[in-house]
Amino acid sequence: MHTKIKSILIIGALLSLTTSCFQDESVSAPVKTNPVSDDPIDIYIQTNFIDKYGVAVRYRYVDRYVDQNKRVTPPKRELVEPMLDFLTDFWVDPFINVPNGRKFFEDYVPAEVIFIGSTIYNADGTVTLGTADAGARITLSEVNDIDITNKNWIFRQLGTIYHEFAHIMHQRNNLPPSWQEISPQGYTSLGSWYNLTDEEALQRGFVSPYGTSTFNEDFAEVVAFILYKPDFYERYINDEVGCTTSDCDLRNEGRAKLRRKYNAILSHYQQYVGVDLLEVRAIIQAKL
């Protein structure tokens, strides 16, 4: 009897517990909507980037787009459209105008591009030119310095864009086979790549000191250099003839490794996305 009463009490308590509060509480929450902007710049971005390729270009300052230890300024309003045109000219058009390029671009383009007006000032007094986050976002700095007659500015921007775009390729499709075996001794220890000179990097089989930092950075650097460096073949592929110094011999040894990387990258893009990077390069070089 005792047990029976106890059971009834427990059941009663549970019933009470489950029914006494918030009988009509609903879990449905209102859906948040953002009003459509009538700002001409926003309309331009919507039409030419979001609707076409699904990439949102952020030019209004939002601090969470930048590491909180870094200091940056927003872009000038009047320079946003010229910068968008620059992206169209040197990034979108070269890819979508080669066979299979449009699909590749649409599939691989990151979801967001962030415009920063200034350079990215680091706490230690150094500066950063651009960054990418897990293939989802590319951050471009120095938009306020836009000058399409200034080759240095153009090369800095293109170096960032193509480099970060290349990261998405290996994130989706891995590195080319045996990539890690081409110049395994040439990579630097963590955080020490900046102690190398360009010359030393080349002798090790890399296009830049930064490329020696990891396999992935090596891949991204070579892709970027293939696309935008006007003297790519002279500097990184074709051997110097008649070497009379050990430095010259070492540079040619580095070039032999870079030729393997170059061929591996071209094959990788052909195999996985059907894009001939040399056709892309030809379009870019014609614009420079």
């Binding site: 009463i5 700002d39 209004r60 309003r77």
Partner: protein, 454 residues
């Protein structure tokens, strides 16, 4: 048994006592309340017919700017200032703003503007800001904001309702423009300006920082006998109001026999002048004015810097990173690195003790060779220092110290030494304590050397 029944009744009573009215502390959702707060602040910002007036001091040691802002409901804001940089770009700007909520309500200037220009000064270490946290609304309806990005000693901004013509009457755009013109006459980093009393036997050497809005008085000199000088160590932030520069701290004292007080200077006319030390005259400017004590003055750009010559006694060794070499306003570190392979920095030995023998005077480059060795490629010289004009009198050849084998083309070093010393027109200006600008007005090149013994 009874105990069980009591427990049950108590539990049932507790649970039954829950109801919506006691749990739903807020009648609206968090999003609704945030949106209401944002809307309310935006309504406050857009309310004044003539917008807001702010007296803005970016950091504690700087001067102040009057800023007038008119916020619109469509998210745009018109910002009017008298910051004369970039050819008046910041006199009148329309950008977009956003009222946001993070840890509290925030006001964000979304595009590059007056605030972000100041934020970027000195490698983004100058204490300006373009993101503000809302603090409160005062009883007289002013709005108080605090810098969101100042690490310490956060700047407070008080938004006060502006009068109909207050911006026009307060902003000194013409004065700011003229001061910029004057300070840019010689295209160097540390312009030296002479302030001459027209009714007294007195002139001051001053330096002016147009962006930080600070003034420094470095020396007082008798006009009739320039050998009679007095060192002055006075600096003050200032504010521009209309046609006047108003000192935060008045200059008061007796200088080479003159009792002087300056609280402000009202400026009148920008005049043309020239300096004749190069093959072609260098156009410069003068600016006439009247001090708050009703003394007529004129300020003019000058090559003479009373403190510049002090480099010779301060230290015997200076260095100049490649990033401190400037050709007519253009930084040329990349070109230097290309011309002088492995160059790390310039070095200046001035009255240096090599351990016996005559004092060592030399200037050149410190070079890191690819084989790990180091070369010092220096031109020795016999100096003649006349005030702040340094004449080098170079030895004909380079002296090579360290590794005699170097990757660098030594002859190319002369490109830079010629740019520095051409026509014996090197003038030394104090840029900051222990930092000196070696400037040649005829070539337009600047080399900023740092005291290495500090």
């Amino acid at each position: 048994m009874k105990k069980g029944i009591y427990t049950f009744l108590l539990l049932a009573a507790v649970l039954a006592s829950c109801n919506d009215s006691t749990v739903a502390i807020f009648e609206k959702t968090a999003d609704e309340r945030v949106n209401e707060a944002i809307t309310a602040l935006k309504e406050d910002l857009t309310a004044p017919t003539n917008g807001w007036k702010i007296k803005y001091r970016p950091e504690s040691g700087s001067g102040s700017f009057y800023v007038f802002m008119k916020f619109e409901e469509n998210g745009s804001v018109r910002i009017r200032t008298d910051l004369g940089a970039n050819n008046g770009e910041f006199f009148d700007q329309i950008i977009t703003y956003r009222v946001d909520n993070r840890l509290g309500l925030e006001l964000i200037m979304e595009n590059y503007c007056f605030f972000s220009f100041l934020f970027e000064q000195d490698g983004a270490t100058f204490g300006a800001e373009f993101e503000f946290s809302f603090v409160n609304k005062t009883p007289d309806d002013a709005l108080v904001f605090r810098s969101k990005t100042d690490v310490s000693d956060a700047t407070i901004l008080l938004f006060e309702e502006a009068g109909a013509t207050e911006a026009d009457n307060t902003l000194g755009t013409e004065l700011a423009t003229n001061l910029n013109i004057l300070a840019s006459d010689l295209a160097n980093f540390a312009p030296s300006i002479k302030l001459t009393y027209t009714n007294k036997d007195l002139l001051f050497f001053i330096s002016l920082d147009n962006f930080k809005r600070t003034l420094s008085f470095t020396a007082a000199v008798r006009k009739t006998n320039t050998q009679i000088t007095q060192t002055v160590n006075f600096g003050t932030p200032y504010t521009i109001i209309g046609d006047s520069v108003v000192f935060d701290t008045p200059l008061t004292g007796t200088f080479v026999g003159n009792n002087i007080t300056i609280k402000s200077i009202k400026f009148n006319t920008l005049t043309d002048g020239e300096i004749n030390v190069c093959a072609d005259p260098i156009p410069i400017h003068g600016y006439t004015g009247v001090t708050s004590s009703n003394d007529a003055i004129i300020i003019e750009t000058r090559l003479l810097d009373a403190k510049g010559a002090a480099f010779a006694t301060l230290s015997d060794f200076y260095f100049c990173p490649l990033g401190n070499i400037v050709d007519n306003g253009q930084f040329v570190a990349d070109k230097v690195a290309e011309d002088v392979k492995g160059a790390q920095a310039m070095q200046l030995y001035y009255n240096y003790d090599l351990g016996g023998g005559p004092p060592f005077y030399a200037i050149g480059f410190y070079i890191q060779n690819t084989n790990g060795t180091v070369t010092f490629a220096l031109r020795e010289f016999t100096p003649v220092l006349n005030n702040n004009n340094l004449v080098f009198n170079f030895a004909p050849d380079f002296s090579i110290f360290g590794s005699q084998q170097t990757d660098a083309n030594i002859d190319n070093i002369n490109i830079y030494l010629d740019a520095l010393a051409d026509g014996d027109n090197t003038y030394v200006f104090e840029y900051a304590p222990n930092v000196y600008e070696f400037f040649n007005p005829c070539t337009g090149w600047s080399f900023v050397f740092i005291n290495a013994n500090q």
